[in-house]
């Protein structure tokens, strides 16, 4: 099961304050633990929102605005994507994470949609279309082992 683990921004991360050597080392060790356990798929830190932009969607309209953005607590400062057996395991792992910021911080753990989750989105019409296409392709192409 995949989870995206989102580190919410803080005043210091938004101010572009880089973590000190001790914090960096601790975070490095934690990341190493995730790698060694085979559960880390991806992860990165994001630059402060002052270096980013936002696109607002309204109907056909697109409006661009430049950072910084507020409220700070809603912003994303970094993320991991991990593959573990359950939400409980994701929580167990992230409890060991060193505090990502100097001040109080929030880490959000969100399950990623898997293929099975999209099943219900298939309308009968879509399914019929897919079936027809599949028959067509099957009639033409090979049975190379997937």
């Amino acid at each position: 099961m995949r989870f995206m683990v989102i580190v919410k921004a803080s005043r210091s991360s938004e101010a572009g304050v880089l973590p000190d050597a001790g914090r960096l080392a601790a975070m490095g060790r934690f990341n190493e633990e995730l790698v060694k356990a085979g559960v880390l798929l991806a992860g990165d830190g994001l630059k402060p929102s002052s270096q980013g932009v936002r696109l607002h969607f309204s109907g056909d309209q697109r409006t661009l605005s430049e950072g910084p953005f507020t409220p700070t607590g809603e912003l994303v400062a970094g993320y991991w994507v991990i593959d573990v057996r359950s939400l409980d395991e994701a929580i167990a792992w992230m409890r060991r994470c060193p505090n990502p910021h100097d001040e109080d911080a929030d880490i959000e753990i969100r399950p990623v949609f898997e293929a099975e989750d999209f099943g219900e989105a298939m309308t009968p019409a879509l399914r019929e279309q897919e079936d027809r296409l599949r028959d067509e392709v099957a009639a033409r192409s090979g049975s190379a082992r997937a």
Binding site: A42, D88, A92, E114, G142, A144, R145
Partner: protein, 421 residues
């Protein structure tokens, strides 16, 4: 936290820590059985204590320390076990507290301990199914019933396999050591085979209702990545990881919303997981940089990479795939590999060329009950407009597979042989 939540949290911690705890105990006690028993005792203690105290900062160290204390308690009470106590007493230094244990665990190369454990669970003395069960249990931290469900065998069967396996290893007084030199590579091959067996069971389940079992693939992938971290200088480990990441990248496209299998040529490549493809290609590059391009798993990884790089089915470099299979076939002398080569040759040099290769395999004893042989032959015959023969072969293939979905799929193809071309 409610008791249920706390228990779930503790079970989750257990899953994360159990392999290391057991590995550490195995090093101290030189017994898989004793190590597992004491580790379980420690888990019980955790389930009793942690709801009150909270999960400790270093749960692994807490579990190991507790296990050692339990060992001492038990051996003291059991006078018959005095010899055991003398034997193991020195390893169970009673003065250890959790902090000392944490420090000790950090110093000792836990990597070595885990390697010792995995080489034990995959020991050549054990039959393959025992290696799989023992590895999933001790390294994967899976419960007996979970392993049983994964392989669709009764729980009692798995339990028996594990008991017998531990007994075999104990009787043979197997030394819990990491093999060296050429023995390492040989023994490592057996470990990789076990991991890939688990992956394959999830990727294309041999029996039962589901075409794939993604959780099993994930389990195997994690084990593979762990191994890659433990023996990073061994190219075949990276080759295996590459193969699994690349195959896993297609999992979401292999099955439709109804659970029906979708063949490679027809898969929606937009659903291929680019993150896993990237990881797979990186792992392959690592294997190749280490000089392992011609390892059996690296070759299979390279074949999977050919598919991964093709934006659509038409752009597949079948010629390259065919030559990779040729090398693999020579190295493994495997008729199954040769069968796969035939499929690639059919794509790159024409169906008749593929059929010729398949016909040469007709009398292969190893393939006598292998459903893919008639399945592939049927497909070639179908393409050559030899539909009556194709139908017979599809039906034969259907009778040989134990997977319900696959059987239905093959029977469907058989039925289509009657339709006007």
């Amino acid at each position: 936290m409610t008791t249920t939540n706390t228990h779930r949290a503790i079970e989750a911690v257990w899953r994360i820590e159990s392999a290391r705890v057991i590995a550490t105990l195995v090093r101290m006690l030189r017994s898989l059985d004793l190590a597992e028993e004491l580790a379980q005792d420690a888990l019980v203690a955790a389930l009793e204590r942690w709801p009150q105290t909270g999960v400790p900062d270093n749960p692994g160290a807490w579990l190991v320390t507790t296990a050692k204390h339990r060992a001492i308690d038990r051996l003291r009470r059991d006078r018959l076990a005095e010899r055991k106590f003398e034997e193991f007493g020195h390893a169970l230094d009673a003065a250890t507290d959790v902090r000392d244990e944490a420090a000790a665990m950090a110093d000792d190369d836990i990597g070595d301990d885990l390697l010792r454990l995995v080489f034990a669970t995959c020991h050549p003395l054990l039959p393959t199914d025992a290696r799989v069960a023992l590895t999933l249990r001790l390294l994967g931290g899976l419960a007996t019933d979970e392993i049983a469900r994964a392989f669709l065998v009764p729980e009692a069967t798995i339990a028996q396999r594990i008991v017998r396996a531990k007994r075999t290893l104990a009787k043979a007084a197997v030394a819990f050591e990491v093999p060296r030199g050429s023995e390492l590579e040989e023994r490592l091959a057996s470990v990789l085979d076990v991991v890939y067996l688990v992956f394959n069971e999830g990727y294309s389940a041999t029996a039962g209702n589901d075409w794939t079992r993604p959780d099993l693939c994930a389990e195997a992938l994690r084990l593979g990545r762990v191994l890659a971290g433990l023996v990073p200088a061994e190219p075949e480990v990276h080759g295996l990881v590459a193969l699994m990441e690349l195959q896993a990248s297609r999992l979401r496209a292999r099955v439709d919303a109804d659970g029906e299998p979708i063949l490679l040529a027809e898969q929606d490549r937009a659903r291929w997981d680019q993150l896993l493809i990237r990881r797979g290609l990186d792992a392959l590059a690592r294997a190749e940089r280490l000089g392992g391009a011609f390892g059996n798993y690296a070759l299979q990884g390279a074949i999977a990479a050919c598919h991964a790089r093709a934006k659509n089915s038409d752009q597949t470099d079948w010629a390259r795939i065919a030559s990779l299979y040729a090398v693999l076939a020579r190295q493994t002398a495997s008729p199954v590999v040769e069968l796969n080569r035939a499929v690639a040759v059919a794509m790159s040099s024409g169906v008749q060329a593929g059929l010729d290769l398949v016909d040469a395999l007709a009398s292969e004893p190893a393939l006598a009950n292998y459903h893919l042989l008639p399945s592939v032959r049927a497909d070639f015959l179908f393409k050559l407009e030899r539909k009556a023969e194709a139908r017979g072969e599809f039906e034969r293939a259907a009778s040989l597979t134990r997977n319900d979905r696959e059987r239905a799929f093959l029977l469907e193809r058989a039925a289509r042989c009657d339709a006007a071309s």
